[in-house]
Amino acid sequence: MSGILSPQAWEKVWTFRGTFLLGLGNTIQVALLGLLLAFILGIIFGLMATGENKVLKVISRVYVELIQNTPLLLQLCFLYYAFAFSSHSLGILVSGMISLGVYHGAYIAEVVRAGIEAVPKGQFEAARSQGFSYVQRMFYIILPQSIKIILPPLVNQVVNMIKNTSCLYLIGGSDLISLTYSFVTGENTGGAYAPAYILSGVLFFCICFPLSTLASVWENSLKKRERRVVVQKKTALEGRV
């Protein structure tokens, strides 16, 4: 009944395909909302990390270190159970969205910081010498240049977030992994382990693979362009000698 080759098991999975699609829908929903939060936090804290204000720098650092050095599961459980037992329950989806957003926000903040720091110092100075304010400098001059550097690792964060929705299982979520698990352990539906996890995996793969491919294509074209610039500079230098 549970074997990969068992037709009945595959049939059962097919009959309950709606469950898997529902789980996929929930996973994407949490991931999208979490992503929105992560982007906002990532940009704000990334800017704080590269700004001139030392207090904001420290705050950003503390946030990033705190989040990156504790497990996502702990953050999720803390948020969910802390609120659930203080009679202000946030609900599973909201807890999931917030903790995924805060967790990946810390990684995106690092990505944004690295992207801004990769822009040559002269660009900041030219903008300052023209009298652009901090926000104008970032908006018109620096961020449009860092976006190319930021995008590939950012897409990787999106992929990680989609996979990390599986943590919702621990607080009783209805994401793809959780529903797959209840399916294979359910009284009426149980048993079809292999086909169920294969289907679940295929669904994850279908979403994540195109994204991570996009990221690596992006990264390679960026590297190629850099190499071209270096070659140009080198030949220009050799021309001078």
Binding site: G122, A126, R128, S129, G131, F132, A236
Partner: protein
């Protein structure tokens, strides 16, 4: 009476323990062309960078057009009064030449797109690169990029333009095209402060030359005084090495 456009008063600058400017006092009059020369590491660049607060002095005062420059007012005051041309050009690589030239006039000086583009075309004519308006900076030669950077500085129509070694990163054969543009500018009533190693240019254009060594101004005077009979031994040595 011609007023002081820039005034540095007892300016000191430390980078960590390194004392790079030692009690520098300097005034630049309106319309004056001041050239700063001296060996590398003598504080020339830091001096001009203090004039627009890219470096904030550790102590001392900077006055621009009669107003004291402070951490608080630097963005607004610099926007109105000074522009800068850098050794590395620092054009914005993600924008066309035209966008590079019109960004500040449109966003900071409240000009319409049409006004800003007319202004840009005018200054592109001045630097002789009208045909490059739609090009991206990285497709241009160093000399062309620097001429565009000069045009960008002029588009702000400020009274002061600072030049920080504008020809030091250029191929020898393109240096002259940039110097020619600067010589042309020197005929206008712009206050120019130029850090350079181009002695020919200094001689031709400067109203006054300042020589710096070890973070101090050790001699200043007219080009004639400077090149014909400098009093300071350090200056004589330097000129002896550089002019053959």
């Amino acid at each position: 009476m011609i007023s002081n456009m820039i005034k540095l008063e007892n300016v000191n600058k430390y980078f960590g323990d390194l004392h790079v400017l030692k009690d520098v006092n300097l005034t630049v009059k309106e319309g004056e062309k001041l050239v700063i020369i001296g060996p590398s590491g003598s504080g020339k660049s830091t001096t001009v960078r203090c004039m627009n607060y890219l470096e904030e002095p550790t102590s001392g005062h900077v006055y621009i057009d009669g107003r004291e420059l402070t951490h608080r007012n630097k963005t607004a005051l610099i926007r109105e009064t000074t522009s800068m041309v850098f050794q590395q050009f620092n054009l914005y690589p993600h924008m066309t030449v035209m966008k590079n030239l019109t960004l500040a006039p449109m966003k900071l000086h409240h000009k319409s797109k049409k006004e800003a583009e007319e202004l840009a075309c005018h200054y592109l004519d001045v630097v002789g690169l009208r045909d490059k308006a739609e090009a991206y900076p990285t497709t241009l030669s160093g000399g062309q990029q620097q001429r565009i950077a000069i045009a960008r500085a002029l588009c702000a129509e400020t009274k002061i333009v600072l030049f920080d070694e504008p020809t030091s990163a250029l191929d020898p054969e393109t240096i002259q095209e940039v110097l020619d543009v600067m010589i042309k500018l020197a005929k206008e009533n712009i206050t120019m402060v130029v850090v350079t190693h181009e002695m020919g240019f200094a001689r031709q254009v400067a109203d006054r030359i300042v020589f710096m060594a070890d973070g101090q101004i050790i001699e200043e005077g007219t080009p004639d005084h400077f090149f014909e009979n400098p009093s300071n031994e350090r200056v004589k040595q330097f000129l002896g090495k550089i002019i053959r």
